[in-house]
């Protein structure tokens, strides 16, 4: 480390050097920022990329940067998820991902990964809302070997089916997690309220839309949009422009020009009329409410854009801005709060204000945001505020030029969206020219509290706090479940199924006895295999067909009674009685449908379909698989053709913890009860993993059903008090 003596010597030398060159600065240090004076900022320029257009229409921008031996390329491609058909939302994203992961005609995906990662070279592709983007980041020494690969990925991707599966799995996982955090709910639902739920600017993939997407769709998408006349390619780094241009021409020059982009591609649908109102989405496991308020914003080409930018700075630009100073600093209501008139390049952005605040101050938070919005006209931006905002923007303008990579990216953007290439310089002049009046007029023109959609995500208990703002509309955020995979039902299969089901009915006790079942009551012990270990549960289940169920289960911490009937659905725990959520009620009703008794008795009813769909072995026995469709459910019974016994049942359903998947039940230990045969042992798996096994202790058929078997307990808080 430096010795002190050296430091002092050096410092004195430094001072002398300075004093010889320019007047001595004030020797006393400032005690206030106002006392500081600054030398003028050294002049700087925005480096200008070298621009060429290939004969096939590809636009090429090159910018040299010799600081480090690196080269980076970015291609913007004229495509975007906003061009997707409504029933295939997610197609663009999948295409963008699998272009990279799925390999090319010259190299499969895994070899591609090995090749690139061994050289620390990075190529990535993705398709967003308004464009596709392909990036390349490589050490200078590897550029020549990697450029052809970059070209192949753009021009000749093969969309390997296995990689499509990996990408779909990721998309499906995202969908399943889309309600896990409050902000993901907020930021998904808010665009729907403003753009309309059908708008491409609001739609998000669903299980159904993902299932609808085939490999052909990806191939077609790529074929439609990936042409050189739809590409703007920028390269920045340590190269000579002339040589680089030759390399690009050599690599991309023979890419055939595609058809001209259609004008109707730029007609994008969104709802231009506002949907003001108060909207609420319930999420329980949070200690904060998340709030977003707003309506449509503007496009950047709007002549008022500069005044709007200054307005945004006044509202939310720094710690000294209105939202931050009032709502965070002064009121302590939020850590995160921001807002502004959003703008996009070629479609309207969103005017939006956001904050998150503890649940107890939800109403106060919403009121504070609404007040800030009204204050933009009621307490208009002052000369001081506008001056401060302009200074902020102008004094930091130099940062737009602080990296060549950044400058190139800007130029690519202007080129892609058809903005003038000197847009930044116009921006600076535009901001300089903004007056206080213009900012005030912008506030009046672009912020309309009477058009606000107010969206709040929080626990159900905060809903009351929203009532003062208007009628509260609940937003349904439930994730529609995927349908079971389609199975082929044939006429020959139906004939075979009929014969097998005849046999099963006979084995069970005969059609007449089966039809005479009004209710069953089963006492048993179930061992649940949970992450905490095996839990033994004693239970009594009463089913009155077709749609009433009462289950009493003794769990380690007490008794739980679940009741489902057309009149009521509730659960009684040691803590009291709660209504059963509709989704769980539907699950219970589905379980009754899956009951082989229900299925076998449903033959001949409207909508009942059965077909043999395969063969298998269960517990060493050969079985025929009979797939039944009934009341929207699909069930496969594994029937032993010799004995007529149903040895297993498979269907798509819900495991414990709400995890959906393929359920399989194995039946054994068949015994007779009142002339009917039932399995006294059942073991269940979900996606192949064991979830429970049960044994029947006793069973009765058509026993007496108490009058109040399906009625809620008289004292709502009674719970287990009787015990």
């Amino acid at each position: 480390m430096l010795q002190p003596r050296t430091t002092i010597t050096f410092t004195i030398l430094g001072l002398i050097a300075v004093s010889l060159l320019m007047p001595l600065p004030a020797t006393a240090q400032a005690t206030s920022a106002d006392q500081l004076t600054y030398p003028p900022l050294p002049s700087f320029e925005f480096p200008k990329p070298h621009r060429e257009v290939l004969p096939n229409g590809m636009v090429v921008l090159l910018l040299e940067d010799h600081e480090l031996p690196l080269i980076k390329a970015t291609a913007l491609i004229r495509t975007g998820s906003r061009l997707e058909p409504a029933d295939k939302v997610g197609l663009a994203e999948l295409t963008g991902d699998v272009m990279r992961s799925g390999g090319t005609t010259n190299m499969n995906g895994d070899d591609l990964d090995d090749f690139l990662e061994a050289r620390a070279a990075i190529i990535e592709t993705s398709i967003g809302e308004t464009s596709g983007i392909a990036t390349l980041d490589v050490l200078k020494q590897d550029f020549d070997t990697v450029l052809p690969i970059f070209s192949d990925i753009l021009r000749h991707p093969v969309f390997d089916p296995d990689k499509i599966q990996v990408a779909k799995t990721a998309m499906i996982a995202s969908i399943s997690r889309q309600n896990d955090t409050p902000t993901s709910i907020l930021n998904r639902e808010f665009p729907e309220l403003v753009y309309g739920s059908d708008s491409p600017y609001a739609r998000t993939p669903t299980y159904a839309s993902v299932a609808n997407i085939s490999r052909n769709d990806l191939v077609d998408w790529h074929h439609r949009y990936f042409h050189p006349n739809r590409v703007v390619l920028g390269v920045v780094g340590d190269f000579d422009s002339r040589t680089m241009f030759d390399k690009i021409y050599k690599t991309f020059g023979d890419w055939p020009r595609g058809p001209k982009p259609l004008a109707k591609e730029s007609e994008i649908l969104y709802d231009q009329s506002p949907h003001p109102g108060v909207y609420f989405a319930a999420k329980e496991d949070v200690t904060q409410s998340n709030v977003r308020i707003g309506h449509l914003g503007i496009e950047k080409k709007n002549p008022d854009y500069y005044a709007v930018e200054v307005l945004n700075e006044v509202l939310s630009g720094s710690f000294a801005s209105r939202l931050f100073a009032d709502i965070r600093t002064k009121k302590g209501l939020a850590y995160a709060v921001h807002g502004g008139v959003g703008s996009s390049w070629d479609y309207p952005g969103l005017f939006s204000m956001f904050m998150s605040t503890k649940t107890a101050t939800t109403g106060e938070g919403v009121a504070a945001l609404l007040q800030e919005a009204r204050d933009l006209t009621a307490r208009p931006p002052t000369e001081e505020e506008v001056e401060r905002a302009k200074q902020s923007i102008l004094n930091s303008f130099v940062f737009n030029a602080d990296s060549r990579e950044k400058v190139l990216r800007q130029q690519l953007t202007f080129e892609y969206y058809g903005y003038p290439l000197d847009w930044l310089e116009r921006y600076r002049k535009g901001i300089e020219a903004v007056t206080v009046d213009e900012v005030r007029r912008a506030a009046a023109a672009y912020v309309h509290p009477n058009r606000f959609a107010i969206l709040v995500v929080g626990p159900q208990s905060v809903e009351d706090q929203l009532k003062p703002f208007g009628e509260v509309q609940q937003v349904d955020i439930s994730i529609p479940e995927p349908k079971a995979p389609e199975v082929e039902m044939t006429e020959a299969g139906a004939e075979q199924a009929s014969q097998l089901l005849d046999k099963a009915v006979q084995t069970m006790g005969g059609a007449k006895r089966l039809a005479s079942i009004d209710n069953t009551s089963i006492d048993g012990t179930t061992t649940i295999h949970s992450p905490q270990g095996a839990i033994d549960v004693k239970s009594s289940v009463l089913v009155v067909y077709p749609d009433k169920l009462r289950q009493e289960a003794i769990l380690p911490f007490g008794k739980i009674v679940t009741v489902v009937s057309p009149d009521a659905a509730f659960v009684v725990t040691p803590r009291g009685t709660q209504p059963l959520p509709d989704s769980q009620k539907q699950q219970v009703l589905k379980e009754i449908i899956h009951d082989p008794v229900t299925l076998l008795r449903a033959r001949g009813q409207d909508g009942f379909q059965a077909s043999v769909t395969g063969k298998d072995t269960v517990a060493g026995n050969a079985v025929a698989l009979v797939t039944i469709k009934y009341k929207g459910e699909t069930d496969t019974l594994a029937i032993d053709p010799e004995s007529g016994r149903i040895l297993a049942e498979r269907y798509h359903g819900m495991g414990p913890g709400g995890v959906p998947g393929e359920i399989e039940k194995l039946f054994s230990d068949f015994r007779k009860v009142d002339g009917l045969e039932f399995p006294f042992a059942t073991s269940s798996t979900l996606n192949g993993e064991s979830i429970s096994s049960s044994v029947v202790d006793s069973m009765s058929i058509n026993g007496e059903v108490a009058d109040d078997a399906f009625a809620p307990p008289k004292n709502a808080d009674e719970g287990d008090a009787a015990k």
């Binding site: 430094g14 600054y38 895994d110 050490l139 710690f319 965070r328 004094n395 913890g657």
Partner: protein, 519 residues
């Protein structure tokens, strides 16, 4: 670096580095050498270390100040204080953010007295409700009195007017960092603001800001399932060492830390010897060093704080935290390892790279590509900090319909392979190539460079370690990896955390209340 003694040492180091680079033919020796030529280290008499790097790409500069104090310096009762102080560092000084400091000082003292009186009553085993109401009102009145002198957010206001961007700060278990960027002609503004805030910060609006920090905790931890899990996981893995508690602090502590606590914390830990400031951009040392001396030299030297004594005892049995939650599953496990200054750190980095860096990594290929049981998986070292013995950890996000147990098994299979089989030459080579490329890529922006150099200076006492570390990486062998894997990845050294999607049968929420009010 200007001293001749230092230059000789540097030449030797440079030669070693250059040799490595030539062998690897990855980095351009010319660039590294020029980089080291444009770096100046300047230590003030009070102990404050400055590093100045000339990078005149545009007329701007960035800086990062690291204070060698993090949440690990906290004890129960004041958890969250290091982070709270970070917030306070934006509230100004006697010269920034006030209309009349003489009057404000008195008002703040009165506010604090009133708060202490109220808190003393509140924390009593049996507090008098009437007294509480009176004392609270007295405090709110004094709080209002003090607030009248505040010029809100003046620190940020001054900075952003002058074109400052990227103003922010962070706190973690090891350190607290402050940073922003300015046009290069405004260097003196940086010197004024940054020296002011560490010379004599004023804890104005303390109790308001405490409410803001509570909101931050609710946002980052309480309202995010993975946030809740990580907090529980970390406190399970660390029993004695202060890495145990969350950086944001526990809510009850956030409801009781005081201005007095904050002042004491500042006095003890924000001593100049504990501060490192790195400045990168269009700056010339001969011009800026006089300004640095003038402003930052004002801060008096104070004794360095006592180092942390507690060492986490060896873990002797596997630990597990299971969070039942309506959200989707998530899995994480961690193993104790030595501090990052340990000699095997490059080996842990190699293990990270081979196991989880990119699509060719072992965990990606096994869990995501082949088995399709996870959609993401990543390992990382230095959790929750680097300075003290910490965790090597790995997490996985199960794909829909798949379970924590499945990803755990697959992860263990890969970890076990590292113990029993050598990694391949290709994997080892790829690790080294990527590490060097990552370093090269990080040299192209001022703010990033400032962070990195400050980090290495703080952790190793020498910023050059950023480059020397590459040599250590180059020496990692297959045998090293097997040895470290066998030492680290044992069942008794493992802590597991997972989110399990809730079901009514197994949910404890259906169990009767233990009695008394809910949390």
């Amino acid at each position: 670096m200007r001293s001749s003694r230092a230059r000789r040492g540097l030449r030797t180091a440079l030669a070693a580095i250059v040799a490595t680079i030539l062998v690897a033919t990855v980095l351009d020796a010319q660039d590294l050498e020029s980089f080291e030529k444009r770096t100046t280290v300047h230590r003030l008499d009070n102990g404050w270390t400055f590093i100045i790097v000339e990078r005149p790409v545009a007329p701007v500069f960035s800086y990062a100040t690291l204070a060698n104090v993090g949440s690990a310096q906290e004890v129960p009762g004041i958890t969250g204080l290091a982070h709270m102080f970070e917030h306070m560092a934006f509230k100004g000084t006697p010269n920034i953010g006030t209309t009349d400091y003489a009057a404000e000082k008195k008002a703040l003292a009165a506010e604090e007295d009133a708060y202490q009186a109220w808190q003393a009553e509140r924390l009593k085993a049996h507090s008098d409700p009437d007294k509480l109401t009176t004392l609270e009102k007295a405090f709110r009145d004094k709080q209002k009195d003090a607030a009248q002198y505040v010029v809100p957010n003046e620190f940020d206001d001054i900075l952003s007017r002058q074109g400052g961007v990227g103003l922010n700060a962070f706190t973690n278990a090891d350190e607290t960092g402050y940073f922003f960027s300015l046009p290069s002609n405004k260097f003196e503004l940086f010197a004024f603001l940054e020296s002011e805030r560490f010379l004599h910060p004023v804890f104005r609006e303390f109790y308001k800001e405490r409410a803001v920090v509570q909101e931050e905790r609710r946002m980052r931890t309480e309202s995010q399932p993975i946030g809740r899990l990580v907090e529980a996981f970390t406190s399970e893995a660390f029993t004695a060492h202060p890495y145990h508690h969350p950086v944001v602090g526990y809510m009850s502590d956030l409801q009781s830390i005081t201005m007095t606590d904050a002042q004491a914390f500042f006095n003890k830990y924000y001593v100049p010897a504990n501060l490192i400031t790195v400045i990168v951009g269009d700056v010339k040392p001969e011009k800026v060093i006089p300004i640095i001396d003038e402003y930052f030299g004002r801060v008096p030297a104070r004794p360095a704080p006592e180092p942390l004594r507690t060492v986490e005892p060896p873990q002797t049995a596997e630990r597990e935290v299971i969070l039942e939650d309506p959200s989707q599953p998530f899995y994480v496990e961690g193993y104790h390892k030595p501090a990052d200054t340990g000699s095997d750190q490059p080996v842990y980095d190699a293990i990270d790279d081979i196991l989880s860096n990119g699509r060719t990594s072992r965990l990606y290929r096994s869990l995501v590509r082949d088995k399709k049981i996870a959609v993401a998986t990543q390992s990382f070292t230095g959790y929750p900090g680097h300075k003290y013995p910490n965790l090597w950890a790995v997490f996985a996000v199960p794909s829909k319909g798949h379970t924590d147990q499945e990803v755990a098994s697959a992860i263990h299979a890969e970890i076990d392979r590292l113990k029993t089989e050598d990694v391949t030459d290709a994997e080892l080579e790829k690790f080294k190539t990527r590490a060097k490329a990552t370093l090269l890529r990080s040299l192209d922006n001022n703010q990033g460079l400032a962070f990195q150099l400050a980090e290495y200076q703080r952790l190793y006492g020498d910023w050059q370690e950023l480059f020397r570390y590459l040599q250590r990486l180059d020496k990692v062998t297959k045998a090293d990896i097997r040895r470290v894997a066998n030492e680290t990845f044992t069942e008794s050294n493992r802590t597991v955390g997972m989110i399990v999607t809730e079901s009514p049968a197994t949910s404890k929420k259906n169990a009767p209340k233990a009695g008394g009010e809910e949390g």
